[in-house]
Amino acid sequence: MEEKKITVRKQKIKKDYTKIKLAVYGALTLLLILVAVFAPYITPYDPYEQDLGNALLAPCREYLLGTDRYGRDMLSRVIMGARSSISSAVLLVVIITVAGSIVGILCGYCQGKLDSFLMRLSDIFLAFPGMVFAIAAASVMSGGIMNAVAALAFISWPKYARIARSQVLTIKNAPYISAARLAGSGTGKIILKHIVPNIAGPVIVTAVLDIGTMMMEIAGLSFLGLGATPPTAEWGSMMSNGRSMLQTSPWVILAPGCAIFLTVMVFNLLGDTVRDILDPRQSRRNRS
C-alpha cells in the first residue's frame, strides 16, 4: 500500500516536469522569435551605422557588448543577426521537412522503381559530406544567405525522406489503413488523413532538433564567407569578421558566438522536450 502511493506520486511529478519544461523552453523560443521579428525596433543603435571614432570599444555602459572594427554596436548587430539566422534556419528546416517527407511518403507508399531510384539518389546525397557539398554549391551559386539555404536544403532532404519512408512502411500495412480503404477512401485521402498524422511525430521531433544544427551549418557557411554577404548582420559572418581579433578584442567574436550557442541550445532543449511529449517511447528507451 505504502509503496503504491509512492510510485503514483513519482509519476505525477515526472509528468508535470515535462509540461513545465515545455512551457519554459517554449517561452524562450518564443522570446527568441519575437526578438528576431521586432529586431529593428529594439536595437539601441543602428546596426549598420559606422562610427570609426568608436571602433573596437570594449563592452561598457554605452555599448553593452562593445563595438566592432567599424564602430558598429555589437548588441544591435547581434539582435539584428537573430533575424537572418533564425529565419533562415527555420525556413531551411521547413523546406527540407516538407520536401523530404513528400519524397519519403511517395517512396514508402508506391515502392517499386520510383522508390528504388529516389532512395539510391538519397543514398548518394547521404554519402556526400554535407558541408563540403554545400560549400561547393554555395560558391557556384555565388553568395547570399538564400543561396546558402538552397545549398543546404539540396543536401539535407534525404534524412527526412528516409525517416518518412520508414515510418510509412511500418504503418502502410496496418489494419487501419486497410479499414480506411474498405471505407472507400482513395489513396490521396488515406495519405493525408491517415498516414501523415501518424508519421508526423518522429518527423516533427527531428525537425525541431534540426533547427539548431541547421543554424550552425548556415553560420558555418557564412563564417566561410559563402552565406550572408556584408554588411548584413549574421552571426556566422560576424564571427568570421572578428576572428583575427580574438586576442585583442574578443567581444567581437564572443558576442555572436554566445548568441549562436544560446539559440542552438534553446532549440535543442525544445526539441528534446517535444520528443518527450510526441514520442514517449524513444525517450523512455534513452532514459533506462
Binding site: 496496418a174 489494419p175 487501419y176 486497410s178 479499414a179 480506411a180 480503404r181 474498405l182 471505407a183 472507400g184 477512401s185 482513395g186 485521402k189 488523413k193 491517415h194 498524422p197 501518424n198
Partner: protein, 251 residues
C-alpha cells in the same frame, strides 16, 4: 439457395527471395445469401489471404470472384468504391483496425462521408449504429487506445454496418478477445445476421465457435480447401486426417 459470392480457382503466390510460396491454391467456394459460412484452418494456411483477396486489398494471381454474378476482380475507381458498400470486413485486432489518431466516431463515419452522406446525417446514423452494436454514445469521442478490445470490436462492427453491406467478412474477429467477450460479440453477430439477412464469411480457427454459428464449413489446409460440408456433419464424421486432428485439438 441463391449464391451471393462465388469464388473460383483463386490463387495467390508470394515470393520471398524468389522462392515461391503458394498461400492460396486454386480454391473455389460459394457463399449463399443469408448464410454464415465458416472457414477454418491453422495459422498460415491462407485464410486471411483469401479474405484480403475477396475484399480487394490484395490482388490474386488468377481466378475469379463474382458478387451477385458480377466479376469484381479488375474493377477500379468508382466501381471498386461501390463494392465496399456491399461488402465489409471486421479485423482481428480491433484496436489496430482504427486509426490511433482518429476518434471511434470519425472512424465509423468515414465510410458514410466517403459515400457522399452529409456530416449531420452521418452523425445521426452513427448513433443508430452504436445502439445496434450496444455501445454507449460516449464512445464517439474516444480514441481506440482508450477503450477495451470488446468495445472496440463493437465499434468496428458498427463501422462495418454503416454502409449496410450484404456480406460481412470476419477475419478472426474474436480471437483477440477473451472468452466472455467473444461470446457476446458472437451473439451480436448472429443477431445481426438474422435481423438483417447478412451473409457472413466467418474466418476462424476455433471449431467450437464455427459449430455454434455456421451452417456450413470449409476446412483449409496449406492453401487448399480440403473438406466442405454441413458443420455438424464435418465435425461428427471428418473425412480428412487433418480435419480430425483439428477437431481433436479443441479442448
Amino acid at each position: 439457395m441463391e449464391k451471393i459470392l462465388e469464388v473460383t480457382n483463386l490463387k495467390k503466390t508470394f515470393y520471398k527471395n524468389k522462392t515461391p510460396f503458394t498461400a492460396v491454391n486454386e480454391i473455389s467456394f460459394t457463399l449463399n445469401r443469408g448464410e454464415c459460412l465458416g472457414l477454418v484452418g491453422e495459422s498460415g494456411c491462407g485464410k486471411s489471404t483469401t479474405a484480403k483477396m475477396i475484399t480487394r486489398l490484395l490482388e490474386p494471381d488468377s481466378g475469379s470472384i463474382r458478387l451477385d454474378g458480377e466479376e469484381i476482380l479488375g474493377q477500379k475507381g468508382k466501381k471498386k468504391k461501390e463494392l465496399y458498400t456491399k461488402m465489409q470486413m471486421i479485423f482481428q485486432i480491433p484496436q489496430d483496425s482504427f486509426d490511433p489518431r482518429c476518434t471511434l466516431g470519425d472512424g465509423i463515419m468515414e465510410s458514410m462521408r466517403n459515400h457522399g452522406m452529409k456530416r449531420k446525417d452521418a452523425r445521426k446514423r452513427m448513433y443508430e449504429l452504436l445502439e445496434l452494436a450496444e455501445l454507449d454514445k460516449s464512445f464517439v469521442s474516444r480514441y481506440p487506445h482508450e477503450v477495451s478490445g470488446g468495445q472496440c470490436q463493437r465499434a468496428a462492427i458498427a463501422r462495418a454496418l454503416a454502409v449496410d453491406p450484404r456480406i460481412l467478412i470476419c477475419d478472426e474477429a474474436t480471437s483477440a478477445l477473451d472468452v466472455t467477450i467473444q461470446a457476446q460479440i458472437m451473439d451480436l453477430l448472429s443477431r445481426l445476421q438474422r435481423d438483417r439477412g447478412l451473409s457472413i464469411l466467418l474466418i476462424c480457427h476455433d471449431l467450437a465457435l464455427v459449430q455454434k454459428l455456421c451452417q456450413r464449413v470449409l476446412v483449409m489446409y496449406k492453401g487448399s480447401i480440403i473438406e466442405t460440408g454441413m458443420t455438424d456433419e464435418v465435425i461428427r464424421h471428418p473425412r480428412e486426417e487433418y480435419t480430425k486432428s483439428l477437431i481433436d485439438s479443441v479442448f
